[in-house]
Symmetry: D2
Subunit: 324 residues, 4 copies
Amino acid sequence: MDAVAEEMRLRRPVGGIGTPRREADVPEFVQGITDGRATGQPILIKIANGNTDGSKYAAFYDTPRPGHADLPALLKFPDHDLSGSGQFSGRLTAAIVAAGAVAKQIIAEKGVSVDAFTRSVGEVADGSVRTAAEARGSRAFATRACTQRLDDAMRDHIERVGASRDSVGGTVECIVSGLPIGFGGIWFEALDAELAHAMFGIPACKGVEFGDGFELAAMRGSQSNDAYRMDGGRIVTASNHMGGIVGGMCDGAPVVLRVAFKPTPSIGVEQRTINLRTGTDDTVTVEGRHDPCIVPRAVAVVEAMAALTVADQIARGFRWDWIL
Amino acid sequence: MDAVAEEMRLRRPVGGIGTPRREADVPEFVQGITDGRATGQPILIKIANGNTDGSKYAAFYDTPRPGHADLPALLKFPDHDLSGSGQFSGRLTAAIVAAGAVAKQIIAEKGVSVDAFTRSVGEVADGSVRTAAEARGSRAFATRACTQRLDDAMRDHIERVGASRDSVGGTVECIVSGLPIGFGGIWFEALDAELAHAMFGIPACKGVEFGDGFELAAMRGSQSNDAYRMDGGRIVTASNHMGGIVGGMCDGAPVVLRVAFKPTPSIGVEQRTINLRTGTDDTVTVEGRHDPCIVPRAVAVVEAMAALTVADQIARGFRWDWIL
Amino acid sequence: MDAVAEEMRLRRPVGGIGTPRREADVPEFVQGITDGRATGQPILIKIANGNTDGSKYAAFYDTPRPGHADLPALLKFPDHDLSGSGQFSGRLTAAIVAAGAVAKQIIAEKGVSVDAFTRSVGEVADGSVRTAAEARGSRAFATRACTQRLDDAMRDHIERVGASRDSVGGTVECIVSGLPIGFGGIWFEALDAELAHAMFGIPACKGVEFGDGFELAAMRGSQSNDAYRMDGGRIVTASNHMGGIVGGMCDGAPVVLRVAFKPTPSIGVEQRTINLRTGTDDTVTVEGRHDPCIVPRAVAVVEAMAALTVADQIARGFRWDWIL
Amino acid sequence: MDAVAEEMRLRRPVGGIGTPRREADVPEFVQGITDGRATGQPILIKIANGNTDGSKYAAFYDTPRPGHADLPALLKFPDHDLSGSGQFSGRLTAAIVAAGAVAKQIIAEKGVSVDAFTRSVGEVADGSVRTAAEARGSRAFATRACTQRLDDAMRDHIERVGASRDSVGGTVECIVSGLPIGFGGIWFEALDAELAHAMFGIPACKGVEFGDGFELAAMRGSQSNDAYRMDGGRIVTASNHMGGIVGGMCDGAPVVLRVAFKPTPSIGVEQRTINLRTGTDDTVTVEGRHDPCIVPRAVAVVEAMAALTVADQIARGFRWDWIL
């Protein structure tokens, strides 16, 4: 239960670079855990919304915000309720992080861990190959960068963007360590397919790639194939262009994926939109409390989604016991 | 049924740039279609394997091929059968294309169409924004490029790579037109999440992005938000950085996604691997008939996967009838 | 929201024939409903547990109760929590009834209604064929019998059984009206298969049959086939031995099913069991507050399960719009 | 592969009491099995239809057969193909039996077996409690009765019914042995819920009950609760009124269920129906080759469905490894 609180802390905004909206985010364990142990019941964790102000959303019924779910949601659901953005709110990732904290404990029993970090914020990019240990080290930094220097640069970049009432995107990299060769599935149960599915479930995700990803499109097979070799009795790959997955299954290397996040659509400048009531062009300005960059907070969400996906595949027996 | 045959033709290899292995790929409609009309039964289409030579795979039981599923499959399944690569063979995409041809007819009844083309092969990239009509025009070219000049350049590139017994990757872009605003879902039923899931089910896929995708990570919200405006009584977006999807649902713009494919792992040069029998380092050389670039053939597969995903969401009522 | 409260009232115990445990059972609508209208979000209804006393369950860790889930649950889950019987408690049917009340409103928009009543309690059986209107009339009676005379007899029977610290079983009959010919599916999506699945999810259910059910096993085809005839331009069946379902789909007659419930396993007499701590034979006596007969309260649960199943099939398009 | 052929033999009609239609029913193993061992690929078994005559079905487009799926299927699917009854044909149970034969080998590795027999045919009922060994002995008899005397009586009954161009129903009892205490799930994953779901997927199934089933409705808790006792270090139940399942999970006793089958709807006498073309009352006579009683052949199908359900729950980990 402390582990859940710790993961949730990592998702909370940090002064200067996050939204000024403050939520206690104290997870309440309603069901399924007794004396710190899972009973076998479904686990119910409640995270209260404390600091809400639904009135700010009234204008968006007429003038939906560009980049937000307002317009499709209003046309899809006749009685859609915009207060707090409803089910489309990034706030719901708090529940994902709490569930992921439980999943991390399940997969840890199998020797599997998930560690992510901020690979880039706007133009500030971390150009180094990073290990799981370095990714874990990012927990010490507000931006979830891997080094103090990168944290400073990213923080500075976010603050400058925020000061101009604008927002900025970025990328998160995630490393799954400890999966045995053969873990995963094929076709619609491929490990990469299910991980990508989960990542695109995170609001603002616009791209997912494994290993060298889109760069592989410009490479030759003689460069991209990861050779196998023996290392102290274990089979290892000599490189990791594939990001640890071939044919939907692990090849023994760590699974490495990158997730692209768009800039937060909520920005404090006037934007062009339409007016659903009048059927004419109009403008909208989004006041309120927003993150100029959600990437640092998204790191915890990416980790949680990866842990949930792996735990889900373990639960389906993919195929721990059949593997060396 | 002619439509199925036509889609399958687009997946077949073309002289010079594809594998010399020749399959008739004539779809046999075993069940579910009577007099050219669907009866309501599950549709069973049989595509025979004619031109196979399982003996070529015997060596890979000992020395699994880098970049292939050999190693994870052999460790996962004690009695894995490598002949023809089994369920891990790209050959299975023939079935996807046949099923996709049926799905295309289903979604066409709702006014939805899917058109893809080759965005890049190795370093040869198409730098222009392309419309669905241009994508459809790629059916005239062996490489599925959008213009004769690009087709020439890509074909030349593939032939040179093939001559050096190497392979090369590339990217496919796919445009889904005609979806109404609000089509899709959220979280694990988001349209982008389900499309990405399907794309990563295609062998050799290593990345998926929507709209400006990974470039969005370096952009500002003031650049990336797609403004709405009225156009002849219809709501349209003034740009399409989002690739037609916000909050997991369509915003009225065409859905645009790009899929990165790695180079074919089968290359005709000696590669380092391990020997599972002896437990030592070894080498493997892959003889046989391979595509130096599978991207031109993957275009039909990407279209099929997109059509199947959209048809599947329509079947679940996401939410055609609830939408303006 | 009033409709939900009304359905929940029907599940509450009645003085004399139900458990003396009293729960307010006031449904709290936490999410998904604004101003009495569904917003499109998942609907979250909270039903608090007020009147609990977990201490009474401590003895069952050692001496599991016959007929209860204690023994299998304790062996399955190392940290199973017996307090209040956890997820195995009949108390969870309160949530089913609340969800069913929402489902009833969904299917009512399609002209479908679900009405159930108590067909038998112990040896007291209702021998008449009952209409949906008569079943609906059972809402006036504590036992959910269809007539005052039957209500008196059943109530008397339950009270006598309760006085002897014993319990008794019974049967519930459920009528689904308004489904069009062809509604349902086949094989694993057959309407009867999915209804039976749902009914066996109710604690204490031990049998489900449609139409003449087990009596059909002793009949001839010339007796059991329901002939079709025209009735004012509509196709109707001349009888309803099939309970409205052939081939997994509706034949136009009302769907009629019967559900058998075993006697409540909690009885106030000493029973033989084993002691998990000592590994020897032992006895257990279940004190506390129990229903001598849960059948009257199960009627609301059967209705809810049927409504949820039908709503689920409608949501999958089975196949309202395709049908005359 | 021999095991599959043997199970399929048990489903084939027997002279005198089954349909004169003869199918070779030789299973062809197309994929997934090499040298008699599963490779890990999906297993594809092909069973050809040899002896078909679609012309006999032409009349039923106008005058649908009572008790058959004709009417709902024709109204549901505009282009429904009645030839051979399509997907609604009992012929499809051949595939279930073949798949079940594979499932039996999977569950046998865990020590689980499934044995069924004919409990009744029309008024001829087996009144004895039967063991799994006796059920297995029914494989020696054409009617799948447990004794020669019952086989004679049932065979005689079926022949007389068949001679009068009529049909008759019956019941099948199925015993699942070897499941550990705690096997199964709860609510919608309850073992009885999933077994019932599968059984109602079998054409002509109209009722399913576990243990004493519908008789439990008239019993007292003091009679129906199965007491636990120690027997040579193992926990056993002193009786088996519950049919081996409490709370959706096994209590250590064999799982016992009974399935009611209606009389075959195809009978050789004129029946009243409607004419879909003219919209008036009409009659229909079903010529052709029918089973006067499908119960003896349904025994193999019930076994197969039970084996598939148990194998499916094992595959989901319900929860073999967690159990004593």
